[in-house]
Subunit: 349 residues, 2 copies
């Protein structure tokens, strides 16, 4: 079996037809007589031909049937977040109508190894995340002339992006707390920039990550002077770390914490309980995302439910549309406020 793989011409020859006819038999793009069809199939079987080489086909067609999904962090880290997971599901759905599969790409700037944005045979790209580095990825993809959709990202003019009403949604949660009577509030944010450094955000600092900035703005519309503490990533552990910082000094405990994600909120709840505080009696906590957080029972987070799967699907359908020269639509999605059991009026002193 040291002979080279059979090609469609081999099959055609074996079947006594032309290569183009054999091609048509496999693609089904043009009617063929039952007889030739059968002969071609038989020949293919005999030669062990398993169908057109996708590489050649994609060169000829100018399409590879692959959509790149670009992350700005370790895949494992990215997938730790249920929101991402759901989004991927939606994305897979969205592009499937295009008959495409998803290629996982990580743009970590290193660019040392080759499987990069520069060289991947993708028909379109979906950029996920919001780090400033995304701008670079965007540049690369655009230079290649590849249609691109950004999810929750800091895109430039003319780049379709799937957006959430982060600011307005977060404002609702803040307003909910205000309505309950809270005034002393601390905000736990997602990373504010690519360094993902933890810590209190100075007043003059600007979050360079859109989601973070938008949600922060929403909260500040209600609590304009609330201090904000940045987490290094969206996870329960990070939330707990932030929470411990917040609850460390009994004299300076806020009556409510606005966390920018459910995972962070869960961590804050945990830290509160570690500190001997009861949620929501002693402190109220709100999240963001509306995902199921394991280990939070019996609490039900007061949160903003975001349509994660829909987000992915919207992006998928958008690239599908762009590949068909249509204008993508329906990219603005809305979060829904959900009152849970983690918020209550502040304890009267």
């Amino acid at each position: 079996m040291s002979t080279r793989r059979a090609t469609i011409s081999d099959v055609a020859r074996e079947a006594g037809v032309s290569a183009s006819t054999a091609s048509v038999v496999f693609s089904g793009k043009t009617p063929t007589s039952e007889a030739t069809r059968a002969r071609v199939i038989a020949a293919a079987e005999k030669l062990g031909y398993t169908g057109p080489d996708p590489r050649a086909a994609s060169l000829r067609r100018g399409r590879s049937g692959i959509v790149g999904v670009v992350f700005d962090q370790h895949l494992g880290t990215a997938f730790l977040d249920p929101v991402t997971t759901h989004m991927m599901d939606g994305l897979a759905d969205g592009v499937s109508r295009l008959g495409a599969a998803l290629l996982l790409l990580r743009d970590d700037g290193h660019t040392v190894s080759e499987p990069s944005l520069h060289t991947a045979p993708i028909d379109a790209a979906v950029l996920i995340g919001c780090s400033p580095r995304m701008r670079d990825s965007l540049e690369i993809v655009r230079a290649r002339g590849i249609p691109v959709v950004v999810i929750e990202g800091d895109a430039g003019e003319g780049i379709p992006r799937v957006l959430l009403d982060n600011t307005e949604a977060q404002r609702q949660a803040a307003q909910h707390l205000a309505d309950l009577g809270h005034a002393d509030v601390v905000i736990v944010t997602l990373p504010i920039d690519i360094d993902r450094r933890r810590g209190w955000i100075p007043d003059d600092a600007e979050a360079r990550v859109d989601v973070t900035a938008d949600r922060l703005a929403g909260a500040r519309q209600v609590f304009s002077h609330a201090p904000a503490l940045a987490a290094a990533t969206s996870s329960i552990d990070e939330g707990a770390i932030a929470g411990r910082t917040i609850f460390a000094d009994p004299a300076r405990r806020p009556t409510a914490v606005i966390a920018q994600s459910d995972l962070l909120a869960a961590g804050v709840v945990r830290a509160a309980e570690e500190a001997g505080l009861q949620v929501p009696r002693d402190v109220s906590v709100t999240g963001f995302d509306g995902v199921v957080v394991d280990g939070l029972a019996p609490h039900v987070l007061t949160t903003l439910v975001q349509p994660a799967t829909a987000k992915g699907r919207a992006a998928g359908e958008a690239v599908a549309a762009m590949l068909e020269d249509a204008t993508p639509a329906g990219l603005d999605l809305t979060c829904t406020f959900r009152a849970g059991t983690t918020t209550a009026p502040p304890r009267s002193t």
Copy 2:
């Protein structure tokens, strides 16, 4: 801009060199004079040429730089399991030395939509999971003559696969319980077949999923008559469902439960506590995987720690090796027993 994209020959012409020279400049496979190099780069810039078309390059090279990862379930579902997540990380690592990226493929048998195993431009494939359906995927890939590695799967002869010492590891956990004095034990298993049906497994039934069968066998080496209850998937919720079944009848409660995954174990612990039992005083619970389970605090599961990331990396390196005509090695991995706080001697009656 209605003109077609520039090709390497355009660039070459613009730079006043031959196409092959331009090619070499981009690939760097052959030394070029600094002068030509500069001219080519300049020409490329001028024409907006962003590098060789990957489709053409991969046809010519016979390589696409893409490794397919085949799942047998919804991506979202698959990624819900931290073990999978870590494995993907390792996999990404493993293939990166090959300069490859990962293509997510779902083999759901439907085969209705096209982005399938049949047509994806992949250089190699990694099959994940253990459902009988994997056999079909395997067949397809092998027919295409693509190197393939199976992780924890039910492969045939001659297919390299990454394996855990599931049976032996699970036996250790069982032995640990036996040593503590337990005799009345129930096993909570992963799905036993593709239907993922919950329920008690009849004695004459055979688990058709390798992992499940192997771990079950390991437990039965010590507790040969322990009843086994199948879960529908590996999750905390499923574990809790199983746990409720097990602890429903106070008269028939076991003194220990062997769960085939940490997530299931966490669910069992939760169910036990719901039933008013204390872990490990009233009931001991062991898991499998060694992942961090949120929400289990303050318990630390007694479990078998499996090298999840290493598993992925091993698979990645194996396909890399196969693509270089080498023989993959180091595919047998070992779990490590970790004693936690969820096991103790049975309460003396």
